[in-house]
Amino acid sequence: MRDLRFWRWRRAEDDDIDREVALHLELSAEERIDAGVPDRDARLEAHRQFGSIALTKEDLRNVRTGASVERLLSHGWRDFRHGLRLLRRSPGFTLAAVLILALPIAINTVVFSLVNTVLLEPRAGRTDALVAVFSRDRERPDAYRDFSYPLYVDLRDRSGVFDSLMAHTIGLVGIREGETTRRAFAEIVSSNYFATLGVKLAAGRPFSLEEERPGANAAVVVASYAVWQRRGLDPGFVGSTVRVNGTAFTIVGVAPRGLRTTPLVSPDWWFPLGTYDRVINEWFRDGPRGLEDRANHALFVAGALRPGLTKAGADRALEGFAASLDREFPATDRKRSFVVADVPLNLSSRPQSEAPVAFFASLLVVMAALVLAIACLNLANLMLARGSVRRREIGIRQALGGGRGRIVAQLLMEGLSLSLLGVVAGLILSWWAHAAFTAWLARAAGFMAIEGVDLTIKPSARMLLVACGLAVVSTLCFALGPAWRLSRFSVTSDLKEEPGLVMRRVGSGSILVGLQLTISLALLAVGGLFVRSATEAAAANPGFGLDRLLVVSIDPSFANYDEPRTRDLYRRMLRGVQSLAGVEHASLASQVAFGEFAEGGYVEAPDRKTPDVTAGFTIITSEYFETLRLPILQGRGFSAEENERTAGSASAVISETLARRLFPDGDPLGRSITLRRGSAETGGRGNAETRELLTIVGIVPGTTQDILDREPRSQVYVPYGARFRAAMTLHVGVFAQADEAATLTNVLRELRRLDNQLPVLTARTMIAQRDASIPRWAVRTVAVVFAMFGTLALLIAAIGVYGLEAYEVARRTREFGIRMALGATSRDIRRLVLQKGLKIAAVGLATGLLLGVGIGRMVSSVLYRVSPLDPAALLFAFVVLAVATLAACYVPARRATRIAALEALRTE
């Protein structure tokens, strides 16, 4: 309302002034006409005598409005529009400046959102106030393991330490949707899980104590809010059924909206512990033990302490409890000690300090802020360089009585209009970046063929606040310094074109610019290394036949198949697929190259003369080596009979790489090896390790399983008859003349014919499998990120160089003019200007190359077959940066010769 009144009032005042001036002119003219001057001349003379009407009106307004808030406002608005007009007049500068601001602002907001989501945002319910309990060996304080269900119940009911204690674990389940089965993240939880977390279900009820009892097998499930949303928030959702691993489960509840149990990822389904034996996937369980077994350490435990009890107090109280366990369960729970600590961000068997996360997060924030600060400094330089062109304008304004405050205010307003544009562009960019980042995370989940992982990196209100703060800060940073400096020129010297020594650069200077060149070259070089690495990886030969190979991952356990049925299914499947047209060979393997899971163990030579070797462990059917076109170098492959369950079959085929390391001298055939698996060191949950004695019957060449493999892996292959595995990958070799896509369709049709509910997780060619593999995607992502950062750094550095040079030219224009008047050619002047820029560039580029090589060495472990000294990548980065720097130097240098020539003519 106030604003409106102000404008109306302004209008009335303006009318007064207009009327008064018009009357005056009329009276003057009349007077002259009375004196005999012709009509037209009289009017002209009257105008001439009056002088500039516009100027008078302006003066009148200034007198009238005085130093009121209105005046400040109207001035501010006018300056802002003036600033925008100036920016429109030089679109190149504006675009560069907006970009240089927008990119760091986008990076800052994304980084902030990430840190916000992971660290700052409180976790669901009262998670932050809960404690996690960890179980460790009293004699080996470093050996932690998880909890068995009976131990959890003892802790909950008998230790007297906890107000409320819950247990949970994670798994993957097969969710049937229409004709397909998808893998989904699930959590298997105790009945008091949601109550302990302190969250209320969005709909329905939590699990009952009866549903938690091991073996209860009540087919009930709680869905995530996201799942409910995907079903359109159907009011009949609670009470409906969902097919999980082939069994119908009743949905009894919906978790609260946005419930996340780890920082980024949240499960879609929660199952009661009573369904553990049915729901848990073979990847997430150790051996065949059930939930009620005290030796099955399957659960993570967290809860609320009794009021008034500290963590240290709880630790002491649990000592007594541990002592009683020694007596009661000497076989399974002896010599434990319990540690109570904060709930870790991610599920963990041991207490985690979040300090590294916090450190990493603050490092990210500092780096992002640094990028913005450097961008602002460069902009300040650029503004100063531009400002020096405007020195005369400012000098004139001062001579006309423009106060210093007004001039500073105007320059600040110009800065603000620029940074507002930058922030708006930055926000748009960051919106896009958020979406891209979320998609990036979702793709990672997508590669594992896991459906509906709820990822949440969202722009927040806090982030918008941060962005606005950044705008103000950046305005102050890059506009205030130059504004102050520019307004300090003495009127006389500027009108007389004597720059004097008043102007000095804002803080930065050549060292800063040199440093920027160094950093951007290093980033570009490392980006180049990763790009090269990605292309090399794509071209690499894994040691087996990549082409004409189809891979189809199947897990019948998601459709409730038990071992005999699964074996029968696979037997019929192999027979059926092998008889299809176009199929040369078909076989099954427990692991697939470029897959997301790798299984392995330690291999001991019988006499243990050589050190233990880590090796991949793969269960295969006959014809596997033929399917992958791997020649058998020595001995034999597996026969079709070995596909069938055989008691005590202990034959193994090993890779040549493993043979060489275990038996450097002598024939490996017929020798025996021991495969050690399942111990804590091989990634198990602390359950007893297994040892298998195997006899070597054949040798095959080593293969790489992943694009980051430097050399062929050591492998142990055992026949399907010796070991059962439900999740297998069907490998299909296709005849050269057959069509791959058509054959894949035929294979899938055959699978559906066998069982139209069969959970097929992925079906693609081996080439597609490689292209979608996480390491390859990661290498590509890293390459893109580095290239992006490198480009940003390049842009910032180029603008830095340009600003520095332009400033230099502006400062020395008069000198150049004199030089030219004294006979220097424009080439001489150009050389003079270029020289200084190139000196900085040379130093920056040289150190940048060194830094690039240094970083390259540090990341060389993930560089695929590319040396950190790769000439192509280094040369590319060097040339790009050198060209950009040269251009940034050349533009002001050219301007110098042009201006200088004019100047020489004018002043001398």
Partner: protein, 113 residues
């Protein structure tokens, strides 16, 4: 800033002349200019462009007041300015200051031999 100072001197003089012109009754802007020019035998020429800012400045300081009134001899309105009591007092001080200054200048500028 030399230009600024000269402007102020000029301004001060103009202010005094305006106040003086209003001593005998309200006048509009054009009449004030004409009055100053006539009474100085056209020696002093008022820069019409700076007259109105001067008027508004004086008004803002409360030395003169303004209002739209019908012009006596024709059928239209003009903005008439009149001296306020504060303006009258101000004119007196300006006048004595001016007399002192003019006397001093006259003394310095004794007829040259």
């Amino acid at each position: 800033m030399p230009r600024d100072q000269s402007a102020r001197l000029l301004q001060g003089t103009l202010d005094m002349l305006v106040l003086r012109a209003l001593l005998f009754g309200p006048l509009h802007g054009h009449a004030i200019a004409t009055h100053i020019e006539r009474t100085s035998d056209d020696v002093l020429r008022v820069d019409h462009g700076s007259l109105y800012p001067a008027l508004h400045r004086l008004k803002k300081r409360g030395w003169i007041a303004a209002g739209w009134e019908r012009m006596p001899d024709r059928n239209r309105e003009a903005r008439y300015y009149r001296l306020t009591p504060a303006g009258r007092k101000r004119l007196a001080t300006e006048h004595s200051k001016w007399r002192r200054l003019a006397g001093a200048i006259a003394m310095v500028m004794k007829p040259v031999r």
